[in-house]
Symmetry: C2
Subunit: 362 residues, 2 copies
């Protein structure tokens, strides 16, 4: 078992990574300071892991109840969030309650936002069950729901008390979701950790084969990178924006295709290729490093071309992104593998040309 | 113009109090660090003060747009909140936006919660237009909406950049609402400021006559008291609970009658009499101080008796209150005028008897 601490002053918390951490009653008992917990999960994860979690809680001597949401990004909205509030209020859960999110990013985002806002904030624990959520949502405290006019538009920053990232639960993860998770893993190499990028080049096959030690290493290094960034910039005023490499393009893909058609990680994969292409064309990323970037994304089984929505439609969708500041599109681009920077003055025509070059043929 | 600073470290902010502060373009320009603002108001306040606010913004050189909500506590729900999000997204408001709440407590709570959660948090300014919101919502950063199963159940702590409390806008406030605001003013005297209670006894008629200097003094001393409490306990873990004097009883009255039938301040007035009665019967508050308490609440034109819902119904509704911790009802009671304390071991039969003694006859 590996342990990483996210350093955020009095909001610091541990992430435990490894096979079987879902069974560690001691870790849960240490993190829960309330007499009751309410588990939030979904109808895909509940049959697989809810019994194991409740057995752990029982061993820890903690009373629990659970709310099972429908699975999928399409349900990451106010109506579904409200079913959590309904259950908490109907069950007379007061402020002395810890929410436990058991599931992927959607469950984590919704349970986290419910915890951030139920009675103005109660503690919560994240038990991410997808690679994407283990490396991404575990660190940073971002919680949100979608609005019909935009993804993650309504949310809050709310840090968990504990994160349990069990590599064994990844054995039931569909291949497509495993690959989608690797997009965010590769991102950490690209934006700030060239040695990790090298390691990924030599371990990508083990990761695709779900080798538990390789997975634990990738999760730990991803979380460590994100943790360092978040510690410097908890509420995303500065350096944290680097985490959006590929995401502004990616959000346009997700929104343009309809949320849920492309997985988030798939859209980020194609989005990172767009960012790398633009970086190379602007003369910032060398052709060799550009080719390594695209090759690793391809080897991870991720799409390297976006859907052909047309550059104009991409730009329109990108203008709605949260990363827009005072009307200017801010893009994370690469100077080198492991060296990213934010640019807000790239000519629109150049952005459009890079998008066109990175889309599927008609 | 009086100026008070709420000391919360990097979240500190000023409250400006006095006649005409709504016109101070300089104060607004100093507090707004974004190119655009979105004003949230309601259909009662907009015809009275929206033009004055937009004129002030124009003088400050700040672009604005506005969202007009329907008036009333009945609209403090997700559906109305969503109209704010709809307008912000449709108007392409990004994170470089300041929300300005122009209205009473309902507008402030909803605009504040919208600001706390829109794109995970944007800055906001409070311009409270009722006495209640000037002395209560101005300080503390509490924001919320109601849930069908409970008042203020969904919310966040989010501090404003600036509060403008203009005593002149109180001239258009209905008498009933002015009196309701005085309930919270009296509360500050009761829980921690005996000198302010004395001052209120000698100035209550001037306050009811809307004397601007008396109002400014009452607002400033109320905000100063609340500010000291909130600085000690920003997220309501300890001493801040004293602010709930009369509120647990009062919430039961509001919920039991249907929200909006009794004004919040009216329910708090009757609730403070219940708390004082219980305090006197437990032998903590002297009969003389008890009588002074009831007399001042009565002179302020507030109800001193609650509706006859039956003690059992009161207790049931009180059990739903957020102030319940781990299943125990925590009540703020008085040792003396200016000296309140939290009790969680008062026998239920004694609470019930005090409620029965303080309800209207059948």
């Amino acid at each position: 078992m590996r342990k990483l601490t996210v350093a955020l002053g009095e909001r610091s918390y541990p992430i435990l990574i490894g096979e079987g951490v879902l069974d560690s009653a001691d870790a849960i008992a240490a993190a829960v300071n309330t007499p009751r917990v309410a588990i939030v999960t979904n109808d895909v994860v509940a049959p697989l892991y809810l019994d194991r979690l409740t057995a752990t809680l029982a061993r820890a001597g903690i009373a629990y109840d659970s709310v099972v949401l429908p699975d999928g990004e399409a349900h990451k909205n106010w109506q579904t969030l409200n079913t959590i509030f309904d259950a908490l209020l109907a069950g007379h859960f007061d402020r002395s309650t810890t929410l436990v999110a058991l599931g992927g990013g959607v469950v984590g985002d919704m349970a986290g936002f419910a915890a951030a806002t139920y009675q103005r904030g109660i503690p919560f624990i994240q038990i991410p069950t997808t690679l994407l959520s283990q490396v991404d949502s575990s660190v940073g405290g971002k919680t949100a729901i979608n609005h019909p006019l935009g993804k993650n538009m309504i949310g809050a920053f709310h840090q968990p008390q504990l994160v349990l990232a069990d590599t064994a639960v990844l054995n039931t993860l569909p291949d497509r979701e495993l690959k989608a998770g690797l997009a965010e893993v590769i991102k950490y190499g690209l934006i700030r950790d060239p040695a990790f990028f090298d390691w990924l080049e030599s371990h990508i096959d083990k990761l695709l084969g779900r080798d538990p030690l390789a997975l634990a290493e990738a999760i730990e290094r991803s979380c460590a990178n994100k943790s360092q960034i978040v510690s410097e910039d908890e509420t995303e005023r500065g350096v944290r924006a680097l985490l959006n490499l590929g995401h502004t393009f990616g959000h346009a893909i997700e929104a343009g295709m309809g949320f849920g058609v492309w997985l988030h990680g798939e859209a980020v994969g194609a989005g990172m290729v767009m960012a790398a292409t633009l970086s190379q064309r602007q003369g910032w990323l060398s052709m060799q490093q550009y080719e390594r970037t695209v090759a690793l994304i391809a080897r991870a089984g991720l799409p390297v071309l976006g859907p052909r929505l047309g550059a104009a439609r991409y730009l329109e969708l990108m203008a709605h992104d949260k990363k827009v500041e005072a009307g200017r599109l801010r893009l994370v681009l690469l100077r080198d593998i492991g060296d990213a920077e934010i640019f807000s003055d790239v000519p629109t025509a150049d952005i459009a040309a890079a998008i066109d070059a990175c889309c599927e043929s008609a």
